[in-house]
Subunit: 123 residues, 2 copies
Amino acid sequence: MARAPRRGPYICGIDAAFDVLSGKWKGFILWELEVHGVRRFAELRRGMPGVSEKMLTQHLRELEEDGLVHREVYAEVPPRVEYSLTEDGRTLNRALEPLGAWGVERMRREGTEAVDVAGTAHG
Amino acid sequence: MARAPRRGPYICGIDAAFDVLSGKWKGFILWELEVHGVRRFAELRRGMPGVSEKMLTQHLRELEEDGLVHREVYAEVPPRVEYSLTEDGRTLNRALEPLGAWGVERMRREGTEAVDVAGTAHG
DNA sequence: TGCGGTACTTACCTTTCCGTAAGGGGGATC
DNA sequence: GATCCCCCTTACGGAAAGGTAAGTACCGCA
């Protein structure tokens, strides 16, 4: 659905990692799923103030396509869809931890304010 | 010059880190400086096939503004300008290593081709 | 005399990203 | 029967990112 069809060739691992992470809300989605394990669409939406349904759907689809997020549809009425991390998604989150720590340290040194969104993410 | 003036407030460390890293060539610039220590403008340009002078200048300026890159101008003719990493830039590169390793592992598993650009970057 | 190299700056244009708003199809609730 | 909730999809449009190409000012080399 209209996204630059990268997925290689990449010049390095960072390039490959950034490719699947590019998108305004993807880091946040990964963190929500890391914290809560399983989330439904509307739960994710409520957990991420500001995200539109369109972008949430689009990013979830891309993350699924990239094998980071698992999507489980239950044939019920009203529909129920549950999202969770795949093993790849979990290892990605673990690989992001040092970067998150660096960012936190940087914020501390610079005195940059952090917005608190109920359970601050990534360290 | 014309960049969304973020620099906080951030929702987490990842957010803060991604803010200074956003830009098509920034990861590559950081890695070039990590590998070579000190580089001149034209050397960076030659090391990054595809980058335009405009984007290289712009990204270098932003990295300098964010305290990741040091810019040293020598009052000579013809002009000489040398770029190198600050301590912050070096710690950022170290924090990026697990992410780079994740990307490399992913490329290996998916059989994604990597482009070789003389000294493959970030792991 | 004209070209290449140094390190940029500027103007213009295309591509990509993202937000807004609306619709959809069924069911439960008031 | 009107509205709300579920999980999306589609169309439209603005903003931001980034590419192209030209210009700047000076010098060395052939």
